[in-house]
Symmetry: C2
Subunit: 397 residues, 2 copies
């Protein structure tokens, strides 16, 4: 004990250091719910834990149009592997898309299902759907009992190569994207590439934007690959897409593991290249623009700015814009310029810089490029040059 | 790149490992908001960051009766240290006590204030109040922008030596304590011991229960200290209380740092000794029982059970009950036995075991004692003996 002879304790501060390690595997497969594919059952079985394990399956309603049999397939799979999987009820259908993040009732619905099903921290929420859907379900899972194990089955390119493999979740509030959320690594990610064949062209293309982004800031060879196979990717060649998804996921995962700041306590956010404008554009267009479509414009805009301030050569800059164009992206929208001369209008593009800084915290830090494959962080920008970049995009080509 | 000659990528799983380190200091002081105490300003200044920093101060309404000047004092402190502290508005008053965790509107209110004030991840929420209040504010801070820096100023014994120094937050839902919450270490904890002088006797005493608990499972010398000074502690001798708080906080912090499972992914939960019954009793009594009062009963019950199954000697068992009694705790309530013969009644005490297991996840794991200062985990219990223990408590003394 500290006290002797009733002398007062010395009130020295106690310095606490808590280290937490999160391990999770990102799997790539075909036919995840085919009975002869044991992957999901193996993942759920865990490591010598008592089975069967309770599982709450939640399915993105957007999938049902092209996958009518999905709910039945999941139930059949669970029945086939009943020694391992105890599906607490029929898979639940919940809307997908960004709008599902705007209404807190969906999070509440999942909390209710977790409560009613007696789902505990060693049980699973199995979430099957697009990136926004996974963000919302992930937030619900992360906050029930301070964290239910989350199995993500991302069904879009964007979710398979980017948002679905990372450590974030969230919903929107106060008109701001991801205002509410947590950092919470999944228990595992199961990328079933078969889901991609049924994507519409916009969603197929949209996910490639994050691959272009991570290639531009980290891996010139990867950008070269995307550039030379842009036509094949645009025309939906699955072979090339698999490569793009795998490498993009890998680069994202390496960054999260090795950045030294996986839960983003600092101001640096290199993976958010092109994202300040993208988030703002999604908001201005009331989320009619897909995230990846907005990111493509954000990349084009920030690359143009980087060219204007001398960080990129003209040929590098053109290379980027041409590649995005060949992939099928539109690089200009009227929303970019409509309120550009009204600095205080909430739809002024540059208010996105303030919102971006507030969300990240600390001083403004955005990532630009100083070459293909080489991101660079800057802490201030010249708005008059940025304005010029916007108009150049409008007039390009 | 992975592809050569259009050969398919090998879809090997990517094994991700994310390590996160959380550092925070737990300070002990007197007169935290006195102008000549620079501690709070120093903590807010951070490590070479740009100041002043935005701060949203939130105050537990329960403090105002005995600390009428508190809000003004905080404002004055901020004005005095204006180079460092930018109080975005007058400190906000929000109710305290367990009931504040039952209504989600308080979390929403804090989210609104964070949004309206442009509070970012590098700004601070300064929360001043009791344990339940800090749990609720902490949850709001942890989920806005995926985590605003939280400065906890715990004002009760329980919060200063236990809940306020740990890594959890939460609110109640579906009638279940902490059903919703996250693991989120604070930025810093500032224990101002002066707040304890104005506690009512129940709150003063209540916090000692967690000290008894951690002493019983980890530190026989500490239990010995509490036992011999039980009268002094009961009669509110601050000198002894400071020792109890410091040592109890230290033991909790050491456990969190060294347990190997700070975010409780496994089933083991030694710090929850006495807590399965405590949580249930709080629920049955509609939170009229203080948490510490419930924990004291839980400790008495689990110690009696440990005695009955031969883990504790009679003198050890008596020592525990006598100490709790001397500290002023009531060790029996009619709520313990009222529905004991109705296994499925929601107010049956033993339904607390199931709820406890569900909250923790995995197999039932409760901590008992195999001697003073020596916790031991068990995975099954004999309900008929537990029932006997309940009736022994009723009839004891």
């Amino acid at each position: 004990m500290l006290i002797t002879d009733n002398s007062l304790v010395s009130l020295k501060p106690i310095q606490q250091s808590v280290q937490v390690t999160f391990n999770y595997d990102v799997h790539f497969t075909h036919g995840l719910f085919e009975l002869d594919n044991p992957l999901l059952a193996e993942v759920i079985a865990g490591n010598g834990e008592i089975t069967p394990k309770k599982v709450l399956a939640v399915v993105d309603a957007g999938l049902l149009k092209d996958h009518q049999g999905l709910v039945k397939k999941i139930s059949n799979y669970a029945r086939f592997y009943e020694d391992i999987i105890n599906l607490i009820e029929q898979p639940i259908i919940i809307p997908g898309g960004e709008l599902v993040k705007n209404n807190p009732k969906f999070v509440e619905q999942i909390h209710q299902l977790i409560d009613a099903g007696g789902i505990c921290r060693h049980s699973y929420v199995l979430a099957i759907g697009g990136g926004a859907f996974l963000d919302m379900v992930g937030y619900a899972a992360a906050t029930a009992h301070r964290g239910i194990r989350l199995l993500r089955v991302p069904t879009t390119v964007l979710a398979q190569n980017d948002s679905g493999v990372g450590v974030k979740n969230g919903i929107n509030a106060f008109g701001k994207k991801n205002f509410i959320g947590t950092f919470a690594p999944p228990y595992a990610v199961l990328n079933d590439l078969d889901f991609l064949t049924s994507l519409d062209d916009r969603d197929w293309r949209s996910g490639i934007a994050e691959a272009v982004k991570v290639a531009l800031i980290k891996d010139a060879d990867f950008f070269h690959f995307i550039r030379i196979y842009a036509e094949e990717l645009a025309s939906r060649d699955m072979k090339f897409m698999e490569n793009v998804i795998y490498r993009c996921a890998q680069l994202h995962l390496e960054h999260i593991a090795n950045s030294g700041d996986p839960f983003e306590k600092g101001s640096s956010r290199p993976l958010d290249f092109g994202h300040w404008a993208a988030h703002k554009l999604e908001q201005i267009t009331d989320y009619k623009l897909r995230h990846g479509e907005a990111v493509a414009i954000g990349i084009a805009l920030d690359s143009t700015y980087a060219y204007l301030i001398g960080l990129l050569s003209q040929s590098e800059w053109q290379n980027i814009l041409v590649t995005l164009k060949q992939l099928g992206f539109t690089l200009y929208l009227p929303a970019l310029t409509e309120k550009l001369e009204q600095p205080n209008h909430p739809h002024n593009l540059f208010t996105g810089l303030t919102e971006f800084r507030e969300h990240l915290g600390g001083k403004l830090t955005i990532t630009l490029l100083q070459g293909i494959g080489q991101g660079i962080e800057v802490n201030q920008v010249d708005l008059s040059i940025y304005k010029q970049a916007v108009y150049m995009l409008r007039d390009w080509l």
